[in-house]
Symmetry: C2
Subunit: 463 residues, 2 copies
């Protein structure tokens, strides 16, 4: 039965996305332990200051409206980085500076995919980041649709000279992103001339999702693109009918020379132990479609906002709180690596690193990676966030940009956790600020500010 | 407060779209009157045959997959017309033929819209159908955003040399489509060099909606395009901040010479009064984005399917039932006019005309325009459709293609009514078959077949 129930998952996802915090009866609350009482007043001031305005949302809107998408190597990203540093200074943050990073500079160029025939049929596609391009005339071949790597291997004799489509329904990101990442080399190794992947995300409105591929060493590098869910379904139906579908893919994609970029850093210096640092941040680069609002402009703004709020309320904790807007998460990860390398000497003094890179929808709390003792402390601190329904502490707190430092030095790691359908707009032209609620951003800013403030302020180090 | 709650209306709309028929307790049922009992068995056979398969959906999928979009003048439309006539013959319909129609041949060409500046920002747009193009370098001017014709008139001194955006939230089609249709001439008359309109539809995922404009006589013809809701919001925010936004619009749009097209006609000839005709149909042309699935491939297929079902069951009614797939509804209406002109001599023998052009989602019944006596009959017939929840008879049954004939000869007019969010995908690249449920199509086919069969079969003429 080829009917594709595209709309139900969108609707359910959107409904989930729209949910306000659940009624408080649904959330079993822990009472704050005694030691936390000291921080209640500061926490409430931070929360009140955050939710009283839509400052974070307005900053995110300005960022996207003014600079647009921010792919590594683009003038957009560099202009936005300069602006962010200036804005941090206007906020009164301290030690604001850029930390230079050389980044890969991949450019998309023009691109198209069509069903070849008497009447060519254009399809909706987006080339995958880091893909090679095609010759100017494109590559042309017959379609082979598979639904798994196993099906590809079973059809290994039919792959040569074909364009392979991995048509795999979205379950979760981890399960399906591997077809985007590894598919090109898996197909290329068997002689395919190009690879297509059903967009890694839930069904949208003919919405293609880009994202990085990863060529395996020693395998042919073939051009690769994502097609919308609708176009993948169409190609599947045509193949199922026994139609020979001939496709032509044209991509101008190429790498230019590595470009200059930077991580943006700002601080509130600690009043007693300035050498001990709590790092907060997100990645400031984005894909070259949409305006990188949820991925990851919003994560940058809410972590930065935690410092803005402390500064505004004259809350200077015992330890230093540092915001870092990393560059080049999407197609290289060089910002996170450069941070580790540049700060190697002081990683032992990193008390905690927190990254927000799962979108900013309704915040539910944090993921955390650390010792049981540290987890218990963090859970205690989270009780200060029960009133804004952001007090859950989950299992895993490591994100892409803090990863290199965290792994190097065994630093406690935290991620902002949210309830929202991040993957509906992830890596798409629809990743724009209007998908984000001002109040959700304010609550996220508040939650991060409170967590970071107490970890930086409490007498004993988190460990 | 600039926050745009884009997602809530999508979610609510999609939830509405997904609803199965309401529980039968919600629907007050009329018992079938005595005279209807005669038709119960035939009606049930038609319904059973329709809902037992997904034949209608499969035909629609094949149409879109094979021929794609079907704009007037395109080879796609002409190839699809040829296929439809062949398919009608394969179905065993009678008197299958094409009725030639000369149609306007507008072509989109390449097009783009960007915010001009040190770092140009591409926006998501679709040129409006029938628009003139721009010079090869495009037109460039400062943005003026207005929210109504009144605001435009109040700003009349600022319009000259500007690009005007009508940023009007979608309420319903009738209220907002006039900014798309009339906006270009209203702005052009005041000296604007181009017009933009917020897409006429609910918020999507950066989804632009095309559609026809209508230049007023004697006013300058300026190029015009729709922008996505997100892009309209971005331009509004930038204007609200006092930013001077400079835009460049490039459109290759142009009219070529009128092209050959045709209405496709097939019949089941009446066994007693073949000269009396019940006409069913939809329009076979579509916009040049998407595959014209809901607008109006589905309407064509379900009306056509009514004849297929009768043929399959050997139900030959007293009068002739004729399916007509009209050409050129979207940007000219010449198919409906040509039908009227060609059949002028027999319009007096047109017993009823039924068009489906509001999408095929969950069918609820029919709109009807006719005498009170005829309406009472139609309501009686609709009681046969209570079991499939398609028995409501609403106020207005006139649609675009039957309009010219209906108005010429005072013919009773009927439209298929459905419960679904037609305007979410209307005139967008996302108008593809996966948005439509096979069971909804089957129920629509069944409802139309039963209504048409009884009107064509009952002894007295509907009037």
């Amino acid at each position: 039965m080829p009917y594709m129930p595209l709309l139900r998952p969108i609707a359910l996802a959107l409904v989930a996305l729209l949910q306000f915090p659940p009624p408080s009866t649904d959330v079993p609350k822990r009472a704050s332990p005694q030691w936390i009482a000291t921080y209640r007043d500061s926490a409430n001031r931070l929360i009140g200051e955050a939710v009283a305005t839509d400052a974070a949302w307005q900053r995110l809107a300005y960022l996207g409206d003014t600079f647009g998408s921010r792919l590594s190597g683009s003038p957009n990203l560099e202009a936005a980085i300069k602006w962010a540093a200036e804005e941090m200074q206007r906020d009164g943050l301290e030690n604001v500076h850029l930390e230079p990073v050389k980044v890969p500079h991949w450019v998309r160029g023009r691109e198209s995919l069509e069903i070849v025939g008497r009447i060519p049929q254009p399809l909706v596609m987006l080339g995958l980041g880091n893909s090679v391009g095609t010759p100017a005339d494109g590559v042309e071949g017959d379609l082979l649709v598979v639904r798994s790597f196993e099906q590809l291997d079973a059809a290994r004799d039919q792959v040569k000279g074909r364009i392979v489509l991995f048509n795999v329904p979205f379950t979760n990101y981890g399960e399906t992103v591997r077809f985007r990442a590894e598919g090109p080399s898996r197909a290329g190794a068997l002689g395919a001339i190009a690879m297509l992947v059903r967009s890694v995300g839930p069904p949208g409105l003919r919405t293609p999702h880009t994202g990085a591929l990863s060529y395996a060493e020693g395998q042919p590098k073939i051009p690769a693109a994502a097609v919308s869910v609708e176009d993948a379904a169409r190609l599947q139906r045509m193949a199922d009918r026994g139609t020979t579908v001939r496709l032509r893919l044209k991509m101008e994609a190429q790498f230019l020379a590595d470009a200059d970029s930077a991580n943006v850093v700002g601080e509130i210096r600690g009043r007693e132990r300035p050498e001990e640092v709590v790092v907060l941040g997100g990645h400031f680069d984005s894909w070259d479609v949409g305006t990188g609002a949820t991925d990851d402009g919003a994560g940058c703004v809410v972590t930065w906002d935690a410092l803005r709020l402390m500064k505004k309320l004259n809350l200077r904790p015992r330890r230093t709180v540092r915001v870092v807007l990393w560059t080049n998460e999407e197609n290289g990860g060089r910002g996170g690596q450069a941070y580790r390398d540049r700060h190697l000497h002081e990683l032992a003094n990193h008390v905690m690193m927190l990254e927000s890179d799962s979108g900013v929808f309704s915040p539910t709390g944090f993921g955390f990676t650390g010792t049981d003792v540290a987890r218990a402390k963090v859970r205690d601190i989270a009780t200060l966030l029960a009133g804004i329904h952001a007090d859950a502490i989950g299992a895993n707190g490591v994100e892409a940009d803090i990863g290199p430092s965290v792994q190097q030095a065994g630093i406690p790691a935290m991620s902002l956790e949210v309830d929202g359908n991040y993957f509906l707009v992830h890596h798409t032209p629809a990743d724009t600020v209007d998908k984000i609620r001002p109040l959700d951003m304010a609550r996220a800013s508040a939650a991060i500010a409170v967590m970071a403030y107490v970890v930086a302020e409490m007498p004993e180090r988190l460990k």
